[in-house]
Symmetry: C2
DNA sequence: CTGAAAGCGCTTACAG
DNA sequence: CTGAAAGCGCTTACAG
C-alpha cells in the first residue's frame, strides 16, 4: 500500500480510502490510485486491516464436523457456506473424527486465527472448555448434537420424536421385533434416537428386548458386521423382523448385511438420515430425512446474529425431520395375521 | 500479550518467546508467563504474528471446488485436510457452482486473506488471470481439471485413457451402440472423457453415432432427462444398448432413467467416478473409480512443496483410475450371436 | 477533500 | 538469558 501511495503521489490514507471504496475522494485521485494499484499488482491485505480495525473481523468462520467427506456433514457445510457467502465470509472446515482432543485443538487453532465465530458438531463428551471463549464474546453455535456443560446457541433435529415416529411406522406395519443399531453412545444424537426407539415401543406396549439393541457402530463396515450378528445370532422366533438404524452410515451397512443374506425383502428397514441413491437400492430405503443443508443455514444465521448481540439469551432451534417412504420400511411383518403383500 | 507481560513482570519479547516455545528462557519466567496467560485468558493472535514474521505464513490454505457437498469433491477436501493437518494448516473451502466469476472473486478473497496457497478445481474456461499471483510466488495447484492459459502444478486422473478402457469394457461385452452422456463441455475432464470414448470406438472400428452423444448434463436430474431422451427417442435398431456416463451425478441420473423404463438389466452402464451405494443398486453399478482422496492428498503435497521452491518447473501428476466391475457394465449386448447369461 | 501521527498485536534485529 | 526499539500493512482519530 505504501508503494501504491508513492506511485500515485498521495498519502497512505487516500489509498486506504480508495481501496475501501469510501466516498469523498476526488475522481482524479481515485483513478491515479487505481492505476498505481494495477501497475504494482497490489492486493489488499485483509489480515493487516483487521488488526487495527475496530470490529476486528476476519470475515472467516470455522466449521468443525465429524468428517467433511460424510454427506450429512458436507451438506451442513454447504448450508453454512450459502449464508456466509452473501456476507463475504469464508468458511474454514475441519474434521474431528470423533477425537475429543482434536476438537479442543481445532477450536484453539481457529481462535488463534481470530475467525469471527465457529460452528461445531461436538464430538467430545463435554464442552465446558468453551466457557472462557464464550465469556469473551466469541460466537459459537453447536449443530446436530447438543453441547454439554455449557449454555450455547444450538440447532438440532427432533431426534427423539422423529425416531419414535420412524419406529412407530415399523410397528404400524406389524413389527414387534425391531432391532436398534446405533453409533457412538456418548453422542447426544445416539442417546435421543435410542430414547425415541424406546418411546415408540413403550407406547405400543412392546417390551424392549436387549438382544435386539446394539450401540457403537462407528462406520458402515462395523454396522454391516453388527447387523449381520443380529440377523444370524438370534434363533428364529426372536430374530428381528425389522431394523431401525440410527444414522446414514449404519443404514448403508445394514443394507449390505441384509443383502448378503437375501433378507432385504423380508426384514424391514428404516434409517435415520437420507442419503444419495437410497431411492435406487432394491427395495428403496425408507428414511427419516433431516434437512442437513437447512441445519447448516440455520446454524450460520444464528452465528451471524450472535455476532451482533452478545448478551441475548441462547437460542435453540429444532428442525423437523420427515419420513420418506420408499419401500424398505413398508415391508410387513411376516405373521399369519398379516397377509398383505409386500408393498412397493 | 502486553497485559500478560505486565502481569508477569517481563518484557513483551519474553512473553513472545514463551508463547512460541523458544528455548533459552529461565524456567521461573516461563512459569510466571504461563500463569499470567492463564489468568488473563490470553490467546495468541496468529494473524498479528504473521504480519511481522518473515515467512508471512497464515497456516491456512484455500480449496475451491465445484461443490463441497458433492462426494467427489468432499473426498478431495478430506485428502487435502489430511496433509494440511499434520502441518498445522487449516483449509478454507468454497464452492464454485460452475460460476467463472465466482472463481475469480474467491481467488481474490483468498489472496486478501493471505492464505499460504490455494488448490483449485477450475470451472472457468481460462485461468490466465492467475498469472500475476503465480509470478508473485503465491503457490497454486490445480486438481481434477487442467488449467488453461497458464503453467501450473496439476493433479489429474487419466481421464482419456480411463474412459477409453471403460468404453472398451462395454465393447468387449458386445456393445456397439454405446451412448455418451457428459457434463459441461468446457470442462477439460469432459473433453478428455469424450475423447476417450471416441478413442475406444475408433480402435474397435465402430462408427461414432452423433445421436448417441449428449453433452451438457449439469446435474443428476438433467442426466435423468437426457438419458431418458436417448432411451426413448431412438428407434429400436439405433437405440443404445449401453451407456457410458462421464461423471458421478450423471451416472446416478442415468440409473434413474434406466430403472424408470425397467431397462437396468438390459442396457449396460459404466460410469466415471465411484459413489456410495453403487454396490447396492440392482444391478450394482460398474464404475471407473478415481481415488479422489488421494488426488486431494497429492495436490496438497504439491502445494506445500511449491511453498519451499518457487522456481522449480511445474509438476503434473496423473493418477490412474481403475475399473470396478459390479454388474451393470457386464451386461451383454442383446444379439443372436451373444448367448452368455447376464453376469454378476 | 486530504494527510501526518499513532497504534493494532505481534516479531525482527539488535544491544546489553 | 532478557529487553527496548522499530516495523509488518493497515486503520483510527485527528488536524488542516
Amino acid at each position: 500500500m505504501r508503494d501504491v501511495a508513492a506511485r500515485a503521489g498521495v498519502s497512505l490514507k487516500t489509498v486506504s480510502r480508495v481501496v475501501n471504496r469510501e466516498s469523498g475522494v476526488r475522481q482524479d485521485l481515485v483513478a491515479k490510485v487505481e492505476q498505481a494499484a494495477v501497475d504494482l499488482d497490489y492486493r489488499p491485505n485483509l489480515t493487516a486491516s483487521n488488526l487495527r480495525r475496530s470490529d476486528q473481523r476476519t470475515s472467516t468462520v470455522g466449521l468443525l464436523v465429524e468428517d467433511v467427506a460424510n454427506e450429512f456433514f458436507s451438506a451442513i457445510h454447504r448450508g453454512v457456506e450459502e449464508v456466509a457467502r452473501v456476507r463475504g465470509v469464508a468458511v474454514v472446515a475441519a474434521s474431528l473424527d470423533r477425537d475429543a482432543q482434536r476438537e479442543r485443538e481445532l477450536v484453539g487453532a481457529l481462535a488463534a486465527r481470530r475467525v469471527d465465530g465457529v460452528i461445531i458438531a461436538p464430538t467430545s463428551p463435554d464442552q465446558s472448555y468453551l466457557e472462557s471463549e464464550l465469556r469473551s464474546g466469541w460466537p459459537i453455535v453447536v449443530v446436530d448434537r447438543e453441547a454439554r456443560g455449557v449454555d450455547i446457541d444450538t440447532v438440532l433435529t427432533d431426534n427423539r420424536e422423529a425416531s419414535s415416529r420412524a419406529v412407530a411406522h415399523l410397528i404400524a406395519h406389524g413389527h414387534t421385533r425391531i432391532a436398534f443399531i446405533g453409533g457412538q453412545e456418548h453422542l447426544t444424537t445416539e442417546h435421543l434416537r435410542y430414547a425415541g426407539y424406546v418411546d415408540a415401543l413403550t407406547n405400543a406396549g412392546i417390551e424392549i428386548k436387549p438382544w435386539l439393541v446394539r450401540h457403537g457402530a462407528a462406520d458402515a463396515d462395523q454396522a454391516t458386521r453388527i447387523a449381520g450378528e443380529l440377523l444370524d445370532a438370534a434363533s428364529a422366533p426372536s430374530a428381528p423382523s425389522a431394523i431401525f438404524s440410527a444414522q446414514n452410515l449404519i443404514t448403508m451397512g445394514s443394507v449390505r448385511a441384509l443383502r448378503a443374506r437375501s433378507l432385504q425383502q423380508r426384514v424391514a428397514l428404516v434409517g435415520f438420515d437420507d442419503f444419495a441413491m437410497a431411492d435406487l437400492v432394491d427395495p428403496a430405503v425408507t428414511v427419516m430425512a433431516q434437512d442437513a443443508r437447512a441445519m447448516g443455514r440455520k446454524a450460520a444465521e444464528l452465528l451471524f446474529a450472535r455476532m451482533e448481540s452478545f448478551d441475548e439469551p441462547c437460542e435453540r432451534h429444532v428442525l423437523a425431520s420427515h419420513l420418506v417412504q420408499r419401500g424398505s420400511g413398508e415391508i410387513q411383518a411376516e405373521s399369519p395375521a398379516s397377509e398383505k403383500p409386500l408393498s412397493r
